[in-house]
Symmetry: D2
Subunit: 343 residues, 4 copies
């Protein structure tokens, strides 16, 4: 914490601030400058609300210095976290591809899409059995019978299953069927759900909220880790801005920012990030090029008949091309001379 005094703060006001800091058991470090005095604080065990000091006379501003998260940070754990699901890794040297329909709609549809995904060499299958919908009158998912279809996909194709959990009541049920549970953007700060997932045993994909800052995303992950579940995968899926040419504005700059501050893997969902199929492939390529640990995309064999988000689903041949592109771009990033230059 750094307290910046106003230019016209009196000596008495500076003294008062020093005395308040000492009274809290912290150590003040006054730094008189040419035009104003600043006061550093050390010795505080955790974050202090800057506004507490801004109430004192003569104080211009109080600036928070320490980051409020611990377990997610690189300060505490230097090496990258690698989440393992069967023989697949997220966060390691190979980019993970998670693909499947937005929603599980029927046994036949899900099997047909799973066949497309598996035959492209992809190992992780996504599909929603519980769907969060803006309107109460929209299709809300098949529920447990959807989960059973996903279990059949795993059995038949050997794919690991990623599926969303919407509330604490269904965490146990979803965890029974899923290999990775997904927390959606609208639930990023549903703290009861985060804690419950923290007590679960399956890895979790945590999607960034529509207007979440980097710190908020990391603190949401901290909620999960604080309960003991260390296998958290962050996911960028677009944020809300004034821009009206896209459903959400995919913020790829968060990928290197996360990698600098946290050891957790980060993937990108360009399907929800853009809302239209034609933009999914270019932005999926860009996600890998920016250095993400993987992508999550929607694939559908008959998108014109999809019950939700059909227009953003890739057609099978588009998906196969995407897998090729992703692998080719990733190869460029891992060439030895490349690695050397960016170290």
């Amino acid at each position: 914490m750094l307290i910046v005094m106003k230019q016209d703060a009196t000596d008495a006001q500076v003294e008062e601030v020093l005395s308040v800091i000492r009274g809290l058991g912290f150590k003040p470090h006054p730094m008189p400058g040419a035009t104003r005095t600043a006061i550093g604080i050390t010795g505080n065990p955790g974050a202090i609300d800057p506004r507490h000091f801004e109430m004192l006379g003569g104080v211009a501003e109080a600036i928070r210095v320490s980051k409020p998260y611990k377990l997610v940070g690189r300060d505490l754990k230097h090496e990258d976290t690698i989440v393992k699901i069967g023989d697949v890794s997220i966060g390691g040297s190979v980019p993970a591809i998670i693909a499947g329909p937005c929603a599980v709609e029927s046994y036949d549809q899900t099997m047909a899409i799973a066949e497309v995904v598996a035959s492209a060499g992809v190992k992780l299958f996504r599909g929603g059995a519980f769907k969060p919908r803006t309107s109460p009158y929209s299709f809300q998912g098949l529920g447990e019978s959807g989960l059973k279809i996903l279990a059949a996909v795993r059995e038949q194709f050997g794919l690991s299953i990623v599926t969303e959990v919407l509330d604490t009541e269904t965490v146990d049920l979803v965890e029974e069927y899923a290999d990775i549970v997904q927390i959606g953007a609208r639930n990023m700060q549903n703290f009861s759900l985060l804690r419950k997932i923290g007590q679960a045993k399956k890895p979790a994909i945590l999607k960034r909220g529509m207007s979440a800052t980097l710190d908020e995303l990391l603190l949401a992950a901290e909620y999960i880790m604080a309960e003991g579940n260390y296998n958290v995968i962050l996911c960028e899926r677009g944020v809300r801005t004034f821009a009206d040419h896209t459903r959400n504005t995919l913020d790829l700059s968060i990928v290197p920012a996360v990698q600098q501050r946290s050891h957790l893997p980060i993937i990108v969902d360009p399907s929800h990030g853009t809302g239209k199929r034609e933009k999914v492939i270019p932005l999926a390529r860009a996600s890998i090029a920016v250095g993400a640990d993987g992508i999550m995309v929607e694939v559908h064999n008959q998108p014109e008949q999809a019950l939700s988000d059909g227009p953003q689903a890739l057609l099978p041949e588009m998906f196969r091309q995407l897998v090729t592109d992703v692998n080719a771009i990733h190869k460029i990033l891992t060439q030895p001379e490349h690695a050397a230059a960016t170290l």
Copy 2:
């Protein structure tokens, strides 16, 4: 739904679109223009995803026309909803003031603040027993013992109680103690919670999410109403923007926008909207001046010792002035000549 064809769309492409519309059982209305053709659609029972048509050849754009909400809309119910809690109304001719501490911290603190609130003639008391906090390491509220303190406030001062509910597990418990349950901004799209509140009997304050559009706010209220709870009060509390001089950007323009489309009452929370005490009073006055049905503000007798959000809490004498200002401004808005001029 309106389909806009590209300038160079062929007659065959137009025919194809007409045929798809008819195939869905809807009625197409082609309108050939000088440079391009547009096609209206009627006969659809609910909303259609515009992107379904944008996949067809020759289509430039598909534009949604009908609003997706029903129960919250003025189309279905013209007259304003007035929510009654004891002898207080929210949405009627008198602006409602809801005041109290951010969090219930102790019996003594809560009683002291309740005394301030009651003695200013205010009837609705707020205080959080369950607190949603960005960090897992911050104070999370007193839980049920906090609710018991609130019950004591009601008994001693005759104040009605507004308190937040965080998750479905605690809805029954909170409802037992509260007169109005509050759904926080982070939970605006926690659909399981909305449904559960819809089944509850107590009125609900629904706070706008940090980046929620007007439609999303109204659809969240629709979730509650669709379950049978019609006593919903909307609450603006600031949205997230690039602006860095305020914690959130209070969007007062949503008040007349809500009033135009919905019969539900809307109040404003300038305390969370601004994050700093000096801004709360001006923005509370502005909230009433813009026509809101009430305000919710934080008051604290010793804000420098508050466990959460102390810097945004009003001091007792500030609060009393605010009540005076609110009533005076409201009086201006309800003078007969004023009403006549804005009809």
Copy 3:
């Protein structure tokens, strides 16, 4: 400037930072904490780019402390600036109302509207002769003949004239006719124009850019003041957000924020801020209630025939009611007991 070292920064890295600071001629103030070291800097004559230090080894973050503006700040000049135009003041104890059409369209229209404005007791008349339009094919204003009509308004009704200047080429021309020159939101960072206005003799209204921070707004004013023109009036006119129920999101919280940091007066334009007439009156009332030094609104006698922005123009009887409301609300804010309580 405050340098925050990483938790694992070595002593050598701390020494290197200290040495760089000394090498620049500044004074470092190291503050070793329990988990990390922070280093304050004093003695720097102006702002330093924080990123310069973030390039050094072991540095986690560099935080700018001093504000980069001087002439606009309260640190240098405590008392409020009052801009006088004839016998009207902006920034004093009476709220200023500036009213008129969006664009000067014809002699008759302008005179008819001026009659409405003058008869409501308002002294400042606005009207654009040069119009900034998003499309090159929209009406661009009458140019000098529009300015001549404005001069006729001044002569006939004794109104002072506010009109926009679009580029450096026309500053001299506009200044010849205007009593106050207005710089539009799109030109807030047109630095050549700001400098030229700084050399002009007429007061200037500087509108906040669509995504300008408070600091950027104040620095734009600093450009004008640095050239010698101290009569600058800031104007909030709405910022760009994701919200789709309003053209712009009027950010009234900037009013108390400006008043805290700067001595310059600040007014609000709720007409451009909302884009629709029904919202102009509520938000104009709110602007006064929040403490703005005035409002600027569009009035039109025949808005359905206006060449630009007719739908946001107030009808004459609405405008008269607004003037009454503004004065009544302002009176509440200036009652003695009110002033005492908010000091």
Copy 4:
């Protein structure tokens, strides 16, 4: 234009709207639906302000259908515009790289950086002689002597020169020295400057404003083209959002969106888009992967001594690696099977 009537609109109100439309000389197309009537309009020569109709009784909403731009659109010109500067093309099959210092600071610095750029096989050199700065007290560029240094770079290294023009007064001067003139983000809606550039003969790079929509960007380009200069290159450089981990939020989704609607080439500036060197390389790679026609990056031989924006400048060896990566990624995008799959 499509007029949507309210559910309870009377027949008389519908008739009134039809009559107003006919009165304007346009053709109404009423479409009575189950719950409400919609009315299409054709025959209007240009865009109509939707708000004009929203003032009529019984009207719920008026929706604009036609896009307001012409020359920039693909409707009028199908094939991609390729801008040629000497033997380099922007918009063709090879991605363009524009590199150099943020500002021209001295002859020696500029020559040293030009040597780095030229030796990497890059043909386009950037460097600012006139710098737009938020603060009036920051370095504002060397002016004409900076332009002369750029001319020396062209002569010695055969590089083509890209440099920014800040105002109409200096357009002729800058055009004399530059091969491409650049219009900065803050000037995107400086319409006088756009028109003047439209009359110039050199190609122009038009940077997207900090909160410009796609339509506004295209209309700004339309201003230039409407004056006769058809060689316009659009440039994404990041938009302003709530996100605080990056200077601006680079919006790569605008690249495919521009390519769908306009024939103009679009490049990306990841240096200003991110503000920090470590993020420039990943986002430059992503820019090419998303399909941009080129990138513009800052390179500096001694960034720690740069007078502006040093922290975002690439070091020479980073730059050389970037050129390699860009070419490798672009190669993937242009493989025959790739092209086939995305058609």
